[in-house]
Amino acid sequence: MTQLEKPELVCPAGTPASLRTAVDAGADAVYCGFKGPTNARNFSGLNFTKAELTESVKYAHERDAMVLAAINSFPTAGRTDLWKKSVDDAVELGLDAVIIADIGMAQYVAREHPEQRLHLSVQAGASSPEAINYYVEQFGVKRVVLPRILTVAEIKRVHDAIDCEIEAFVFGNIGMMAEGRCSLTNYVTGVSTNMDGVCSPASHVEYEPDEEENLTTRLGEFAIDCISCGETAGYPTICKGRYDTAIKKNYYAFEEPISLNLTRLLPDLIKAGVTALKIEGRQRSRAYIRSVVSSFREAIDAYAIGEEPDISQLIALTEGGKETEGAFKSKTWR
């Protein structure tokens, strides 16, 4: 196997302890968000206060790791001040980049903090050279996080036609919805994934076992799955639920519980021009972060010296105990 350039390994953190774990496990960069609706993982008990992020940035920088601020939800009218304050705080704390989805916030960063490195979030849903180059030309975006809808060959074509770096997801949650456009949670709960930053808020989720430990999952007032005893489970999201439809009974109408795992495609992604490899999972525990980050660290380092990595332990951390290469491998994956 030929040796490859080492891409940047970008890892998630939902708490300060997770951030330290990611750094210690070999992350080149860690992305995280402030408490509240300004980021797309606004889950209960998760995220950072300004004081926590101050300490966390210090910890990471002392170990040559970068910290990226995810400010990647969409402010509704009248609420932009909170997003602007998050941007101002991220700049003040010396974060290495801010990750933005909203076009207004991109303009705010470019105007108020022109020296701040700006990344375009996957939530912006920019997947064509035209869209990406618009953000590059107008706001000085330095990196785009690509939606999980492109094949590796398409990523290569995008790379050749744009003037910024590419970051690609390689592990974790994957859904069928257009990134940044999904309104299923909003429809059922009144809480918006894109504007409140939370998909399937825990306050609206309920698990109800019967005497044989079959498990009914409810979101709001709706049953979205009934998992038999012994079956694996997934996240309580509408897109991973099972439904009776006109064509089929009790089946995953959108997508089955499954996780993205592109370990085997890493060499192809690097050759296609991907600068940074991103692990999903700010809502996951330190144990997940320790295991996934160290596995990918080893995989990247192994490929860099022409060796084949061992990735067998990652399957235990996947949703539903299943993994896929998704659209990266083929558009017919679902």
């Binding site: 008990g45 309920e206 109800e208 005893c229 996947t318 949703e319």
Partner: protein
């Protein structure tokens, strides 16, 4: 399918499989040990309560399979309590967490990923999902393990206590 739910309502736990040992087991000697553990953890990890938010007012019932009693945790920052209860009691709770003792211990110490445990059905959560998520994230932000905290809480007595936990871990892990 639409259905009215119990969301936000306290629930009652009754163990249909409660065995005879549970009826005669004296729990009184255990209570001061549990009290000391929970108060010590609260004292050395005040940041825990900041992440707990509304979860601090909830009652968490811990059903470690293979253990002949139940644990009831109320993480109120003013008066945190951890109490052992008989499996023959009817217990009101907001959140019920069930699983092997060894699995629950690994989860508390962040040795294993709780989402993966849930995906694989190694743990079962019922009741207030938001409260258990708050508790999980608060515990996950602690750098120390429960074993570390027991050691600092009990000084020279920590060694036999840790040995007891390890023994319970092995026994229930093999049996449950």
């Amino acid at each position: 399918m639409k259905k009215k739910t119990h969301r936000g309502q306290p629930r009652i736990f009754r163990d249909p499989k409660a065995g005879p040992i549970s009826r005669v087991l004296p729990l009184l000697p255990l209570q001061p040990v549990l009290r000391r553990i929970v108060r010590h953890v609260a004292k050395i990890h005040p940041e825990l309560f900041e992440r707990l938010e509304s979860g601090a007012n909830k009652t968490f019932l811990i059903n470690a399979k293979g253990v002949p009693f139940l644990l009831v945790l109320k993480p109120d920052p003013a008066n945190p309590t951890l109490v052992a209860r008989s499996r023959h009691d009817e217990i009101q709770y907001d959140v019920l967490v069930s699983g092997k003792f060894s699995t629950l211990l690994q989860m508390i110490d962040s040795k294993t990923d709780s989402d993966a445990l849930f995906f694989n059905r190694d743990i079962l959560i019922t009741g207030d999902t938001e409260a258990i998520l708050l508790l999980r994230n608060a515990l996950d932000d602690m750098d120390t393990t429960l074993a570390d905290d027991v050691a600092t809480a009990f000084g020279p007595l920590a060694k036999p206590l840790r040995a007891s936990i390890n023994m319970a871990n092995r026994i229930t892990g093999a049996r449950a």
